[in-house]
Symmetry: C2
Subunit: 391 residues, 2 copies
C-alpha cells in the first residue's frame, strides 16, 4: 500500500426533510452572507429553493442567489458568480443541485479569494484557500458533495478540466434521497453510471496487495448493481435512492481509494465528449468505459477477472482468465444497457469524423504533452483507437 | 434507512515513517504545549517515544509526558492526567499507543475542560468540549483513532463504561503499519477480533434495506478474514498489516454503520469480563460473540444466513436457513480458534461462579435498569444463559 493522507471533514446530514436544516448548518459553519447557487427552474418549481430560503431567513442569514448552472458547467457563470460574491460580500456559498451546481460553487469559492483568473486552478495551480461551501444534493452521481474535486468547462476552446484541493471539500452536505425521486430515469441512470465509473477508476490500480480498498470498492459496485435497477423500476423507492446516495458519496470521497494508484482515463476520454456534444457525463461514461476496459485489460488480466468474479458473479475460468475478464466487461455493458444508457457514439450524438478533434483536445489541449496517464499511459494513437471502438 | 448525521473530520496520515511528522501535525492543529500520553515501556524501548519527542522538538513544541496507561485503562490515571494538564497548561494531547492510550487521552481531554468529575461523561452526560487529541497508533484494534468513542474502567466498583462525542474525534491520527510488527501474536489476534466485533455489532441491525452498509461491513470482514491469517503467519508482512490497519479505522469511524440500528451487546457483555479479569478485550470478544450470536440468531435468521453466505462462503440452505446461519457462526468460531483466540471462560481465566456478579454489574451496575438493549434486548436471565454458554 502506498503512503497516503486522507481528510474528509465534511459534515453529512442525511435523510428526509433535512433541507430545512440548511440555515442552521450555514450558521454552524460560519456563514452570514450566503450565495445560493443552483441550476434550472426545477429546483425553484419544486419548492426546494423556497424551502432553503425560508430556512436561511429563519436563522437571520442574508442571501443572494445565482441560478442558471447547466450540466457540464461553464466558466462564464463562474466569472459571474465571482463578481457577484465580491459585490455582495458573500462569505458562504450554498450549492443546491448536483455535481454541476456544486462544482460551479467550488470554482467560485476558490476564485473569489484569488486575484488572478480562476482558470489557473483548472490548469494545475494549487488551490490554497476558498470560501466555505455547503451543498444540498439533488442527484446521486458526481460525488462532489464529499469530494475535494471540481470540473469546469472553459468556453474558450471548450476544454473540460478538473481541479482538486482539500480547501474545496464542502463544510456540510445535506443528502435527502427524496429530493432525487423526481429525476427523469435517464438522469438517474446517468448518475448511477457516474458513481460506478468513480469506482472503476479506483479499482484499476497498479498498486499490489490493496485488499481492503479492493473489497470496499467491490461492495459499493455490488450495491449499485442491486439498487440501480430497483430505482429505475420504481423511481419513488426511497430505500433504493438512499442506498445509492450514500454509495455515491462513499465512492468519491476517496475513503475507498486511498493508498493505491488510480486510473481516471475513462473520465478524461469522456470529458472530451461531454465538452463537445454536451451529452450527460454519465451517459458518456457508459459509452467510454467498456471501450477503454477492452483496450487495456491485457495490462492486468487478473485484476479484470477479479472484478468479473467478485462483482459480476462470473465463474472464474482458471485456464483462460482473459475470458473471465472479458465476461466481466460484457456484464458491465449489459447492465448499462438494462438501465437505459447508450453504448455507442450514435447514442450520444457523437460523430466519427470528430475523432481527430477529440484526440487533439484530449492529448494536446490546454498544454498536455501528447498522452494521458493512469492504469495504462495512452497516447494519441491509443486514444484514436479507443474512440473508434465506440462508433 | 434511518436519518443520520456523519462527521469524521480527523486527518489521517498513513504509511512508513509517518510518526516523524507528529510535530508538524500538532502545530497544524493548533498545539503548542503537548501531553504525550502512552502505555508501558515498549514504546520507549523501541525508540518510538524518542522519535516523537524529537519531532516535537524540531517544531519547537513544548511537551510533558505521562506513561503507564494499561490495557483496560483506569480512571486513576485519567485523574492524574487531568491534574498534570492543568498544572502544565497543556493545550493538546498526543496519544501514543492503542485504544487504551487513546481512550485515556480522550477522557483526560474532556476532563480538563470540565469542573465536575470526568466520570459523569461515562455515566451519560453529554461531552460538549474537549482539548484536541492527536494519535500515533501502535495496534490495529479499537478504532479509537477515527472514532468519537472512549471506554474507561472506574476503579471504584470496576465499572467499564463508554462515552462518545464528536468533540472526542482525534484531530489527526498517524497510522504506520510497521509500528504494529513487534506486537506479540496474541495481541495482534486480539486486535483482529476487536475489529471484527466492531463490524458484527454494526451488521446486527433491525433496520431494513440497508444494502450499502451491509456490503461495506461485509467487505471489511472479508478483508480481515484474508489478511488476519497472513499477519499471524508472518508478523512482518507490511502489506497485510496495512490492510488491517485501514480496515480497523474504517470499521469504527462509523462510515459503514450510519443509518441503521446497531447492536453492541457483545461489547457490553464482554466489558464485564475484561473489567473483572483484566483479560484482553479482543480475547473476551472471541469468547463472547459466538455465544451471543447463537443465543439471538433466531431473532433474524436471514440476517445471519446472509452473513454466513456472503462473508464465510457458506452454501445457502434454502430449505433450512437456520442451518446456514449456524454454519456461519461456527465458521467465525473456527476462524478465531485458528488465529489463537480463546473460546471459553477457561481461556480467559474466568470462573463460572462469578456469573451472578457479572450479570449484576452488567444489568444493574452504575444505574442500569435490569437489561441491555441492542439487536435483541437482553435481561438478567438472558445474560446469565449467555455467560453459561461460554463456560
Amino acid at each position: 500500500m502506498d503512503n497516503f493522507t486522507f481528510y474528509s471533514p465534511s459534515f453529512f446530514m442525511f435523510g428526509k426533510d433535512t433541507e430545512n436544516r440548511a440555515g442552521e448548518l450555514v450558521k454552524r459553519f460560519g456563514g452570514s452572507r450566503v450565495l445560493i447557487h443552483y441550476g434550472g427552474g426545477s429546483a425553484v418549481r419544486s419548492g426546494l429553493i423556497g424551502r432553503v430560503k425560508k430556512s436561511l431567513e429563519n436563522e437571520g442569514v442574508y442571501y443572494a442567489e445565482l441560478g442558471g448552472v447547466r450540466p457540464n458547467p461553464r466558466s462564464g457563470l463562474v466569472y459571474e458568480g465571482i463578481s457577484l460574491c465580491r459585490k455582495e460580500r458573500i462569505d458562504f456559498i450554498l450549492a443546491v443541485g448536483g455535481g454541476s451546481a456544486i462544482d460551479s460553487s467550488k470554482a467560485i469559492a476558490a476564485g473569489v479569494l484569488y486575484d488572478g483568473d480562476f482558470w489557473d486552478f483548472y490548469s494545475g495551480k494549487k488551490i490554497e484557500k476558498a470560501l466555505p461551501v455547503g451543498t444540498i444534493l439533488t442527484i446521486a452521481a458526481a460525488g462532489s458533495e464529499g469530494s475535494p474535486d471540481s470540473v469546469i468547462t472553459r468556453e474558450d476552446g471548450m476544454f473540460k478540466r478538473g481541479a482538486g484541493s482539500d480547501a474545496l471539500r464542502p463544510k456540510f452536505s445535506i443528502l435527502n434521497p427524496a429530493l432525487t425521486m423526481t429525476l427523469p430515469p435517464y438522469q438517474t441512470a446517468a448518475g448511477i453510471t457516474d458513481i460506478m465509473a468513480h469506482l472503476h477508476e479506483r479499482y484499476l490500480t497498479n498498486t499490489k496487495d490493496v485488499e481492503v480498498t479492493d473489497r470496499l470498492i467491490e461492495a459499493l459496485l455490488l450495491t449499485m448493481i442491486h439498487e440501480g435497477p430497483r430505482v429505475i423500476a420504481d423511481p419513488e423507492n426511497y430505500e433504493a435512492r438512499a442506498n445509492i446516495m450514500w454509495a455515491g458519496m462513499m465512492a468519491h470521497n476517496n475513503a475507498v481509494g486511498v493508498g493505491r494508484s488510480q486510473d481516471w482515463n475513462s473520465h478524461n476520454i469522456e470529458h472530451e465528449l461531454s465538452a463537445l456534444y454536451d451529452c450527460a457525463h454519465g451517459a458518456g461514461l457508459a459509452v467510454t468505459m467498456p471501450a477503454v476496459f477492452r483496450y487495456v485489460y491485457k495490462h492486468d488480466v487478473m485484476r479484470f477477472a477479479k472484478l468479473a468474479v467478485r462483482v459480476w458473479g462470473c465463474q472464474m475460468d482458471f485456464d483462460h482468465p482473459e475470458e473471465t475478464a472479458l465476461a466481466g466487461i460484457a456484464a458491465l455493458e449489459n447492465f448499462l444497457r438494462s438501465i437505459g444508457m447508450p453504448l455507442d457514439f450514435a447514442g450520444l450524438g457523437a460523430k466519427k469524423e470528430d475523432i481527430p478533434k477529440l484526440v487533439e483536445s484530449l492529448c494536446y489541449g490546454d498544454g498536455r504533452d501528447g498522452s494521458i496517464s493512469g492504469f495504462v499511459t495512452l497516447n494519441a494513437e491509443d486514444c484514436t483507437k479507443i474512440y473508434q471502438m465506440m462508433v
